[in-house]
Amino acid sequence: MTKPLVPVTLMVNGERYDVSIPPWRTLLEVLRETLNLTGTKRSCGEGQCGTCTVLIDGKAVNSCLYLAIEAQGKAIQTIEGPAAGDPVVERIQHAFANKGAIQCGFCTPGMIIATKSLLQDNPKPSEDEIREALVGHLCRCTGYVQIVEAIQDAAGALAAKEGA
């Protein structure tokens, strides 16, 4: 059976991609396999772990539970964002690296995207608010302490920049 491909236009990190995909492809599959944007990770496949988190129109979502065809016409941002010049994501990445919030690194892209979403809604989150924002993200290496510190560090640095 030939696959009934449908034309879909995706805007990812400000770039336009015209692709032909089967309608049952998830956004995660298309990002990784069709667009070769493999920074977004696949792990649990059921919305529990958060490694596949991307922003759709500024909101954090699990790309494994989202059909690519439904992301048409929306602004998608992945961890590859900094290449397209997102200074906020870049600053969060620095904080994660500096604070030792990365060990194996597999959960990091999802954590960073979630942090961007958190800080845009709440620039000065408390520790509880940070932990609450990360309930859908699993890290099996760090025990989360350094991740929370990194987010506090990034929030502080971004607020200082804002004030400057």
Partner: protein
């Protein structure tokens, strides 16, 4: 390795109006079509091959189906595709229907609430869903839209059996309506689960009371339960035991005892039936106490 599996093959339709949706659903065989709102349940059901529809009808692009609006009589109408995040952020919901906001924030994490919808939570008809108990105690009705127009059904009567709703095969859930809460009323939703978050409800109890400040008694009480029977359910006999009484320890114990008789919790790997009954007993009392405290904190206000 089911998690690496593709979704089963389907055709996709992306209607933009409610009448297009009802036209697509009309005259289809059971299982032929799948309505996809947020997809947080439905995509997983497809990945597990529990559902293999010929066509997926996406609801995300249906205009005006996600509104949250106050009615002239003080009630609230919530469109089926309103996301949990939109509900939690709505000043109207937080101020006037705090019980709903409280239940919403106990579901999943940010990523889930950004896409999961109220319609999907209710129409899925799962006994563990967290919104139906809160909505039932708020006196919710659901609006069903079909080829011949729309009708309203009380949420209390919407779940005839496990995983099934009172909607006809050609009807979709279009909206949820809440009446204006009585002055001096308040509610709470207590969800028991093992982990701090991102976990399925073992038992959930919603209590909504109207406080009579003069008599220092519970003028009205509604109780509804998640994962305490094959469907989410109201416990009307337990409500009757407490109605008109002061919430003394004895009155609450009698009410909770009645709730244990009315519910039929099952045994699963998460918890056995006897343990769930203990939860129902304890959480019923606690939920009513909290609801009474909240209602007393806002005496006679027009909420």
């Amino acid at each position: 390795m089911t998690y690496l599996r593709r979704l089963p093959k389907f055709a996709y339709a992306g209607p933009t109006t409610l009448s297009e949706v009802t036209a697509l659903v009309a005259d289809t065989a059971p299982g032929e079509i799948l309505l996809l709102a947020g997809g947080t349940d439905a995509i997983l059901q497809m990945r597990r091959r529990e559902r293999t529809p010929k066509t997926v009808v996406g609801l995300k692009g249906v205009a005006g189906l996600d509104g949250i609006a106050e009615e002239s009589d003080g009630g609230l109408t919530i469109g089926a595709t309103a996301t949990l995040a939109a509900l939690a952020a709505s000043p109207l919901v937080r101020r006037r229907f705090g019980l709903l906001a409280e239940a919403v924030l106990q579901i999943g994490g940010v990523e889930l609430r950004n896409v999961a919808t109220i319609g999907g939570n209710v129409a899925g008809a799962l006994p563990c869903a967290d919104l139906p108990p809160a909505l039932m105690t708020l006196g919710a009705k659901v609006k069903l839209a079909g080829p011949k127009g729309a009708r309203w059904v009380a949420l209390d009567e919407f779940f005839p059996e496990f995983s099934r709703t009172a909607a006809q095969p050609n009807e979709i859930l279009a909206a949820i309506g809440l009446p204006k809460p009585a002055p001096g009323s308040a509610g709470t939703y207590l969800k028991f689960h093992d982990r701090h978050s991102m976990d399925m409800t073992v038992v959930g109890v919603a209590a909504f009371v109207t406080w009579d400040a003069k008599k220092k008694a519970v003028a009205e009480v509604r109780l509804a339960y998640a994962n305490s029977a094959p469907t989410v359910m109201r416990a009307r006999q337990a409500e009757a035991v407490l109605k008109g009484q002061a919430p003394s320890d004895d009155a609450l114990a009698a009410c909770a005892e009645e709730a244990c008789k009315e519910t039929k919790p099952r045994t699963s790997w998460r918890a056995n039936g006897a343990y769930r009954l203990e939860l129902i007993r304890a959480l019923t009392k606690r939920a009513i106490r909290r609801a009474c405290e909240k209602a007393q904190a806002r005496p006679g206000d027009a909420p």
